[in-house]
Structure formats: C-alpha cells, structure tokens
Amino acid sequence: MSHASLTPRRSSLRGATLPKWFPWAVAAASVALGLAVSAAAGLQSSIQWALIAAVCFVGGNYGVSARVEGRRQAKDRVATSLVWVAFLLAVIPLASLIWETLKRGVKVLDGYFLSHSMGVVSDTEPGGGIYHALIGTLEQVGLATLFSVPVGVLTAIYLVEYGRGRLAKAVTFFVDVMTGIPSIVAGLFILSLWVLILDMGPSGIAGSFALSILMIPVVVRSTEEMLKLVPNELREASLALGVPKWRTILKVVLPTSLGGITTGVMLAIARITGETAPVLLLVWGTNFINTNPLSGPQASLPMYIYLQYANSGGEGAAYDRAWAAALTLIAFIMILNLAARAIARWKAPR
C-alpha cells in the first residue's frame, strides 16, 4: 500500500458528496425556473411550467452531480428524481380529485342527507338524500361478498393446496379470463340468465350475482398469492404432528395468511362498490326505499350519482347531491381500506 493512498483526500473510498439539501435546492430552482420561463413566454397552463420544472429537476440533478460526484452517483440521483417526479404525477391528480370531491360534496352532506330518500323530492328541488341508495349498495355489495368470498377462497385453497394437473390449469385459466370480463358483460350475462330465461324481475340480488362474477376472480387471485406465501415448513410441521391435511389448512395455513386474505377481500369489495353497469341493467334504480334485495328495483350509490348528475344539467340541487353521494362513496371505500389495513396489522404474525 502506497503512502499516498492513506491520506484522506486521495482515498479511493471517499468521494465528493453533495449536501443533503441539494435535491431540495434543485427542486426549488426548477420550480422557479419553470415559473419564470412560462411567465416570459406567456404560457397559461400550470401543466406547462410543471413539465419544464420536472425536466429541469431531473436534468439539474444529473448535471451537477455528474460534475461533482461522478457518473455513478449522478445516475443514482437521476433514478431518485425520476421516482419523485413519478410520485408527484401520481399523487397530484389523486389529491386534487379528493379535494374537489370534498369541496363540492360537503355542501349538502349531513345527517339529513344520509337518512332520507328521494321519494318525495323531484330531481330539481333541493333536499332529499341517499338513504335508499346507501341501503341498496350495502345490501348488494354485502350479498355479493357473501357469495364471492367462500367461492373465491375455496377455489384458491384448491389451486394452492390440492390442484394438480389439467383441472387446476383450467381453473387458473378461467379465473384469468374472468378477471378481464367487462362489468357490462357480467351484467348482460346475468340479465340473459336471470331475467330473460328465468323470467325474474329486477332486484338487488340479481345485481349482486353480476357483482360476484367481477369479485370472485379478484378474491381467488389475492388469496392464492397469500396462501403461496405461507412457508411449506409450516404445513409439514403440522402434518408431521399427525394433523389431517384439511385441519392443517384450516388451523395453520389460513390463520397465517388471514391478514393478507382480508386485505384482498376488502380491495375486491372496494372494486365492486363503484360498479354501475350491472346495477343499471339488473337493479334499475329507484327513488324509493326498498330494503328487500330479493324483489323490486333498488337504488345504489354509483347509479344515484349518475342519475343525479344526468338530471342536473351541471348545476343546482341535483348536481350538489351527486357530489355529496360521490364523497360518501369515496369515504365508504376509504374506510373499508383502512379497516383492511387495521385487520392485516392486527392479524399479522408477530
């Protein structure tokens, strides 16, 4: 080892590093530059200056870092800044969507709105509420969950724990196909079966059949992934104790993956709660309270939003109600997701 390499300045392990605040400074400079350029060029849209700023941010990070720190660190900084730009690109629309919905939704969202139907209110009048739609959504989604979760979880158990050969391959294939079925097609299928062939009228339960078709593949897929994560050693440990296979699955495999399965189910519920097409075809919608999902048209939140908006002409009482209902729907799904996370954390193996 030569004497020179021991002096700190020439050490091969030590290089020049930019300070911690450097990316923030570049970000601030890029935004300022973006604003200045658009002001100078007379650009109107905020998208334009944001794009200029994003390009400056990535370019600035690379340029300065390449000069000071070297090429490897510069590439690292480019990757990091691209991740940040992508993150902002994803978050800004989401935040603005939630903000917009909140702003417009809170106008009429109150206890009265949640506990009254549209029975005696015409679409153009103020007042009324979403009680009937809330009942409808809860019942339809609840029933669909009741149908889909056992079928989906059992299918996943079959595929992971028992499935070998042709049948398992076929099931996997059809689950994949089902994942891609457009919701309107699921609705049409139940329509032809339930309404046209069996001659039943519109009802909440018909809607939940169609929703189940959409929900089952999601449940199967997520449950399958979770079951695959359970280490084989645990199954063998249980089998080696003389526990039958079905009990091993029930008492060891399922509890170990319960958190993940619950999360998957919640996400599937969130996915079908917003479905409009099958409800439109099979449940029809109504302005009155119908608590019986087995017969007669029912309302549901997504359809309520659609109908209120369609009848509003873009302003007035119905328009406000549409936004308030949208806010309720988002809140409902948000709560479900939070519940799923809480359950996943609570049930996770410690």
């Binding site: 080696a240 003389g242 526990v243 008492k251 060891v252 170990t256 410690r350």
Partner: protein, 258 residues
C-alpha cells in the same frame, strides 16, 4: 411406548428419480440411531419415509416395507395421519407456528387432533416443555408468540411440540445445524433423556455429535451424482468410529472422502 422399526427393501422416488435404493435396517427401541453421509445421499429422504412424510412432496413415492413393531406402515389400509401421530418429526430449521403462542404451539398437536380439556392440556404443555428443557426459560411468557424465542429455544419448542403428542418414535433431521454450541449441547443432553421414552433417529453432519449421542450409526453414500443413495453399513457407533467394516465409511469419517 418406544417401538422397533424394521425396514426392508425400501426404494424412494421423486417422480421418476430414484433417490434411495434398497435400504434395509433395524432400529431398536430406546436407542438413538444416527444417520451420517455426504450431502444428497438421501438421509432426509429416508427419514421422511419412516413417517410417511415423503409422499407429501409432489411426486414422492415409496416401495418396500417399514415395520413399526408388527405393523407395515406401507401396508394396505394404513392411515398416514395415524402413522405421523406415532412417529413424530423435528425439522432442520425451527418452524414454530407464527400465529400461535408458545403454549398453543406445544398444544397444537393435541388441539388440532380433537378437543382436550384445559386442565389436562396445561399439564401436558408443562410436561412437554420440561421434557424439552425449555420450561424454565418460557414459563413466564407462555402467551407470547413462539416465533419470538431465540433459534435454539424455538428448536426446543419444536421438540416439545413433537413430544407433546406422545409419539413412539422421534425423527430428527439435523436438529442442531442452525444452532450455537451451547444450544446444541442442550439438545444433545435432551436426546439422551428422551431415549428413555422414545426411539430416536437423528440425521447429522457432525461426526462428534453422532459419536456423542448415538448408540448405532448408519452410513449412507451414493456412487455418483444422479445415482440413488444407498445404506453402506449400520453398526454400533463405537465400531463405526473405531473400526468400520467398509473402507468408504472410514474414508468418510476420517475426512478422506471424495
């Protein structure tokens, strides 16, 4: 309680691959038998044929006879689940059930096999944990998760779990390979005590361990990679380590192998 195992003409396959060929040996009750041999020679495979765990692997297939006292484990009408209750197993890596507490882990075998009254269960759990030399370390944290114990403690927890169902035979596949010398010693002492109650078969790569704990030692080998593993010889441990009758055994033990 402890039973005699008598294997004759045993072949085990993974799909079409013959992993071990024509193995015959007897394991006496209340003795410790050690399996040694190079990696891949089929020790684990053979061990797993002794409690019908081999067929759990997809494609796993067995030919031949394994007599447990006077019952052929591969005879017609034998329930593999019942076999595994009589022939317990401890794995190479500790694998406590992560969702269960220490107590539930030990009670798992009994609970999962049917209902047991709480008082009786308490007794069995304490007895098994004492039997596995773990009671003093965990008696204050019986309701804490089993996966929160140290590796050595987890392995002894798995031993407690295996002996809680009162098997006749205990199979151990390299039970100390993930443990420090002190935990290893604790488990070796334990094996010495457990042989009063069970017939014990242990796979190990540690020659000193085989010499310390076992009464009889079986040496397995394979002619070449891709060829089936075979039993070279089985004899009293002292003889195997001092004066084996086959040259290959001596080469392996003295480190002149390969």
């Amino acid at each position: 309680m402890a039973k005699r195992i008598d294997v004759s003409g045993l072949n085990a396959y993974y799909g079409s691959f013959l992993a071990i060929e024509d193995i015959s040996m007897a394991v006496e009750p209340h003795s410790v038998t050690a399996f040694i041999g190079p990696s891949g020679c089929g020790k684990s495979t053979f061990l797993r044929t002794l409690n019908r765990m081999h067929e759990v692997t997809p494609g796993g297939r067995v030919e031949g006879k394994v007599m447990l006292d006077d019952e052929n484990l591969y005879g017609a009408g034998i329930d593999p689940v019942a076999v595994r209750r009589e022939v317990g197993m401890v794995f190479q890596r500790p694998n406590p059930f992560p969702t269960m507490s220490v107590y539930d882990n030990v009670a798992a075998g009994l609970r999962l096999n049917g209902s047991h009254r709480k008082a009786a269960l308490d007794d069995i759990v304490e007895k098994s944990l004492r039997g596995a030399n773990l009671w003093n370390e965990v008696k204050d944290r019986l309701n804490k998760p089993g996966s929160g114990l140290s590796g050595g403690q987890q392995q002894r927890l798995c031993i407690a779990r295996a002996i809680a169902v009162e098997p006749d035979v205990l199979l151990m596949d390299e039970p100390c390979s993930a443990l420090d010398p002190i935990s290893t010693l604790a488990i070796e002492d334990l094996i010495g005590e457990l042989k009063e109650r069970f017939t014990i078969v242990i796979v190990t790569h540690n020659m000193q361990q085989a010499a310390r704990v076992s009464d009889r030692t079986a040496f397995f080998n394979l002619a070449a990679v891709g060829r089936p593993g075979k039993l070279i010889e089985i004899d009293d441990t002292e003889r195997i380590f001092s004066n084996p009758s086959v040259q290959a055994t001596e080469d392996y033990i003295s480190g002149r192998f390969g």
